[in-house]
Structure formats: structure tokens, C-alpha cells
């Protein structure tokens, strides 16, 4: 036979949670009810929790770096990236040189209704044109509106945070986000 029955212990646990939620420790003002501080939830549209730097929220496009090489579109497991491009003559790098041929991006759409946020496109991009942004508020009322074009993807580039430092003991090289 236990000293205190489990039923009473259970009541104590929930009761203690009520007290902790309603009266979070705030120094002298301990007895002033402040449930919005004591609760473990946040009131979402008013208060927002910051996702971690690495959070895979939305894919941002650095348009200047993209060469329309189609690697991301080919590696995407559900083929949600649509790319069109054409070749264009650009002025020569040095005065007097030959005009260069560059790939010009016409269309870069990601269908976020299909995307499963695996991050393979960001990983395979050889030109540092795709980045993860922790931005997550991009829902749309209609599913077709989730197809975002390159101008919208480029806007998200501003929300891309700098890469964070690595934990001690790491030998990985810290990358930099190119300025837009």
C-alpha cells in the first residue's frame, strides 16, 4: 500500500500546473495572476515564435545567381520546379573582348502545393541561387495560388538569415549568403 494514493498525486500534478500557469514566478508580484506569461503557448497572430535559423520555411531565389541550369528541377523528387530560360548576348567582360553568351532566366516557379520541403534543390544548386528562409506565413486561399513565380521567390531573399556558426569541434566551413 502506497503512502499517498496515485489519484491524489495526479490531482496534485494538475493542480500544480494550474497554479504555475496562473501565478508564474515574478518576484514580489508572485500573487498577481498572469496566465499569459505562465502558459506554455503563445497567442499566435499577436505573438510569433521565431523559428530557428535553419528552419526550412520557404525557398528563396537569388535571381542574379541562377543560370537556369535545371539541376534543381531535375533533382526535385516531385518535380515542382518549373524553369524556362534563353541564351542572351551580354557585353564583353573586358572592353574590346568578344560578347559573351549568358543564360537568362525567364521563368522560375515553385509549386508549393507540391513541394515537400526536402531541401534537395537548395543542396544541389551549384551557383548559390537557392536558399532556405524561415519565413512560414505564405498560405493562400486557393491551392493554385501556391505556385509562386520568381519575383515572389526573390522577395523572400530578404528574409534569409545569415548562416549560423558551427558547434565546437566542427571542421565545416561557414557559408555566406550573397547580398541581393
Amino acid at each position: 500500500m502506497k503512502l499517498i494514493p496515485g489519484l491524489v498525486k495526479g490531482l496534485a500534478v494538475t493542480g500544480a500546473t494550474v497554479v504555475r500557469t496562473v501565478f508564474p514566478k515574478r518576484g514580489l508580484r508572485t500573487l498577481i495572476p498572469a496566465p499569459s506569461k505562465g502558459a506554455d503557448t503563445v497567442q499566435y497572430p499577436h505573438v510569433k515564435e521565431a523559428p530557428p535559423t535553419r528552419a526550412r520555411g520557404v525557398i528563396a531565389l537569388h535571381e542574379g545567381n541562377c543560370t537556369a541550369c535545371m539541376l534543381c528541377a531535375r533533382e526535385c523528387p516531385d518535380w515542382c520546379i518549373y524553369i524556362e530560360g534563353h541564351k542572351e548576348k551580354a557585353p564583353p567582360r573586358r572592353p574590346g573582348g568578344k560578347p559573351r553568351l549568358v543564360n537568362k532566366l525567364d521563368r522560375f516557379d515553385i509549386d508549393y502545393a507540391l513541394c515537400m520541403f526536402c531541401g534537395i534543390c537548395v543542396e544541389v544548386c551549384p551557383f548559390e541561387a537557392l536558399f532556405w528562409s524561415p519565413e512560414y506565413e505564405f498560405s493562400e486561399p486557393r491551392i493554385a495560388d501556391l505556385l509562386h513565380d520568381k519575383s515572389r521567390l526573390s522577395e523572400w531573399m530578404e528574409t534569409v538569415p545569415d548562416f549560423e556558426d558551427y558547434e565546437t569541434g566542427s571542421v565545416a566551413k561557414k557559408l555566406k549568403v550573397p547580398p541581393t
Binding site: P5, L7, T14, A55, M116, C118, E167, T168
Partner: protein, 389 residues
């Protein structure tokens, strides 16, 4: 063991006596469809139960409502793409799904992840175990009627998910494991934060053991309900905590570790001789505590170095076959990978734990009462994605 066996015999005798009485008064049976949409099936499992009053005569699980064809899909996806698919099998502990597949591919390619990668893999593996089992601890209480524990479970599971997210970028689908290592190294400050999260998980375990495990009503509901003797459990292919709760001391992490560094840690495999639903709950509770200890020890000495071995940029796995299994949160999970030297696997067979675990359901549900169906299903703890794949 003898005590439980005699208990079980008495239980069966009582059930048989009840059945005889019912036969004598010629009651009319009733077929009850539990699911596919039912609060207790957490997903879309359907169980067709033939009832006599509130007693089950026959129960049959009907699966396949969530079949997504991952084995077939994997045949047309390259190896890096498969990891993002297998994330979605057991969606509560998703990192643990990647590991056996990656290990199988690594075995075929004959590469080995550097020690730092192995260490981080093991840590994340245990974190996903905690993320999975904490939810069970709350969910089991919901199945027997208590509402509050599941909110505690969601609250404290958040700490673990936050750690997984800040390391991998994905809360639910990390897609962090790569052939030959990991996608990235840990961010600064992660180790300290994880230690704090482990402290919180331990206090959550204490709360749960006071709120649920010690509760007399919970014990009355679970003790002696859904008894799985060890030999029956083994013959049905139960694994993981379900078989350890029948007193079988079998843990793949300890018995055949491959690629994960459990042999570097001082830990214990928990078993319980009870064989019943309460034993399954108890074993999982102890395992969560043990997992926090494993994580703490691993965090102490993560070796420094790279997190990625030398692998070609375009991965072609040489021809061959490999089977690797690990002790996932739900039980033993294995991948049988057949390669023909292509970019894509030729065939992937997934041995998922829940599928075997629920195969015992028809045997186990015979003769129990309707409330016990839910207790038993809850204590077997399956994830629908893990059953249907």
C-alpha cells in the same frame, strides 16, 4: 512468469465461461466498424469487430487506407531522394526512418560515416525516439480517458522537436542523413540547449509517472489487459518495447549495433515480465528516461572532425544486396535494399515495426470488452504510416 501465466489462464477460463453463458442465452451478435475514421485509431486503421454485447468474438484489422506505395516509389527515386520519402513512414520519429536505409546504402557502397557523423546520428536517433514515445505516453492516457497528459506530452515534445529543427531544419521530416555522413554539422549552442531539453523531458517523465502510471484507475484499466506471452509475441513478430514488455530481453541497439555508437554508452535495456498493457506503457516510460541518459552521455564527448565521408557527387550504388535493421521507436525497422548499380535502387523492402505489431491484434482482441480494444490498440502503439507505408 508463472504468476502471470496462471493469471492468464484464469483470465482465459473466465472469458470462456462468459462465452458459454452467452451461448446459452443466445444473444444476437453485432458487427461494429471501428474506423477508418475513429478517434482511437490515430489515422485510418479500420478494425471490424464482431460483438456479442460488449464482448469481442472476432476482430480483424483492415489496412491499406493510407498506402502510399513507398517501396514502389523508391524504385524510381535516386538514393538521396529516397531519404525524403522514408521520412514519412513513421512520422513521429522520422529521423529514425532514414538511418537504416542510409546504413544499408553505405554498406553497399562500402563507405563509413566519420565518427562525428555517427555520434550526431545516434543523438538524433534517440531524440526522435523521445519525440515519438513522449507522444505515446500522453496518447495512451487519452485512450483510457484522461485528457490532460496528452497536452503535457505535446508541450514537452516541443522541446525535442525544436532541437531537431534547429539542427536539421525540419521539425517532422528532417531529411538530414546522407550516404556517407550528414547534410550539415550542428549549429553553435546546440549541445547546451539539448541538455536543457533533456532535463525537461525527464521532469515530464516524472509528471507522467505521477499522473498516469501511478494512477489506480489507469492500473485497473491496463493491468492484465491484452496479455501477450513471450512465445506468442515472438511468433507474431512483435518487436521493440512490445516484446520487451513480455520479458524478452532483445534490443537491436545493444545486440547488433551497426553504424550507431550505442556501444560507447552506458545504458540498460528495460524489460518487464508483466506481458500486459501496463507493462508496455512502463517499458516505454523507462525507455524515454534511458534515451535522455543516452543523449546526455553522447553529448559529453562528440568527437571533432568532418561530418561527411568522401562520396561522389552523383551517387551510384554498386550492385548487391544489403539488409540493415535498427531499433526504431516503434520496434525493429529494417530496409532490404537491392541495387543493380544504378542511380536508383532496384528494389527496397521495408520491414516496418507497426505492421508486425498489429498482426497480433486478431489474436489479442478475441474475447475482450469494447473498452479494452482501445486500451490494447493504444498500448501496442502503431503509427498508421508505419503500417501502410
Amino acid at each position: 512468469m508463472t504468476a502471470t501465466e496462471s493469471e492468464q489462464l484464469r483470465y482465459i477460463a473466465a472469458q470462456a465461461a462468459d462465452a458459454r453463458v452467452n451461448l446459452e442465452i443466445e444473444t444476437e451478435g453485432m458487427t461494429l466498424n471501428i474506423g477508418p475514421q475513429h478517434p482511437a485509431t490515430h489515422g485510418t486503421l479500420r478494425i471490424v469487430v464482431k460483438l456479442d454485447g460488449e464482448q469481442v468474438i472476432e476482430a480483424e484489422p483492415v489496412m491499406g487506407y493510407m498506402h502510399r506505395g513507398y517501396e514502389k516509389l523508391a524504385e524510381v527515386r535516386t538514393y538521396p531522394q529516397v531519404t525524403t520519402l522514408v521520412n514519412r513512414i513513421d512520422w513521429l520519429g522520422s529521423f529514425a526512418n532514414e538511418v537504416p536505409f542510409i546504413l544499408a546504402a553505405e554498406r553497399l557502397m562500402e563507405v563509413e560515416a566519420p565518427p562525428r557523423a555517427q555520434w550526431i546520428r545516434t543523438i538524433l536517433f534517440e531524440l526522435s525516439r523521445i519525440a515519438n514515445v513522449t507522444l505515446f505516453l500522453g496518447d495512451m492516457a487519452v485512450q483510457v480517458g484522461a485528457i490532460t497528459p496528452v497536452f503535457f506530452a505535446f508541450r514537452d515534445r516541443e522541446h525535442v522537436l525544436n532541437q531537431i529543427e534547429s539542427a536539421t531544419g525540419g521539425r517532422f521530416h528532417p531529411n538530414f542523413d546522407r550516404i556517407g555522413g550528414l547534410k550539415d554539422d550542428l549549429p553553435a549552442g546546440w549541445v547546451a540547449e539539448t541538455r536543457q531539453a533533456m532535463v525537461k523531458i525527464r521532469s515530464f517523465c516524472d509528471q507522467i509517472s505521477e499522473l498516469v502510471e501511478g494512477n489506480e484507475i489507469f492500473q485497473a484499466r491496463t493491468r492484465g489487459v491484452g496479455v501477450v506471452p513471450a512465445d506468442v509475441g515472438l511468433s507474431y513478430g512483435l518487436s521493440g518495447p512490445n516484446i520487451r514488455a513480455s520479458g524478452v530481453d532483445w534490443d537491436v541497439r545493444r545486440d547488433s549495433p551497426c553504424g550507431l555508437v550505442y556501444d560507447q554508452v552506458d545504458w540498460k535495456v528495460w524489460t518487464h515480465p508483466g506481458c500486459d498493457s501496463f507493462a508496455r506503457f512502463w517499458v516505454r516510460l523507462q525507455e524515454t528516461r534511458e534515451a535522455t541518459k543516452i543523449v546526455d552521455q553522447l553529448l559529453d564527448d562528440i568527437p571533432s572532425g568532418p561530418t561527411m565521408a568522401k562520396v561522389p557527387r552523383i551517387i551510384k550504388v554498386p550492385a548487391g544486396e544489403a539488409y540493415v535493421e535498427t531499433e526504431n521507436p516503434l520496434g525493429v525497422m529494417g530496409y532490404y535494399v537491392v541495387s543493380k548499380g544504378d542511380l536508383v535502387p532496384f528494389r527496397v523492402k521495408i520491414r516496418s515495426a507497426s505492421f508486425s505489431n498489429i498482426s497480433i491484434v486478431p489474436w489479442l482482441l478475441r474475447g475482450v470488452y469494447v473498452p479494452d480494444i482501445i486500451t490494447i490498440l493504444g498500448s501496442l502503439y502503431f503509427i498508421l504510416g508505419d503500417i501502410d507505408r
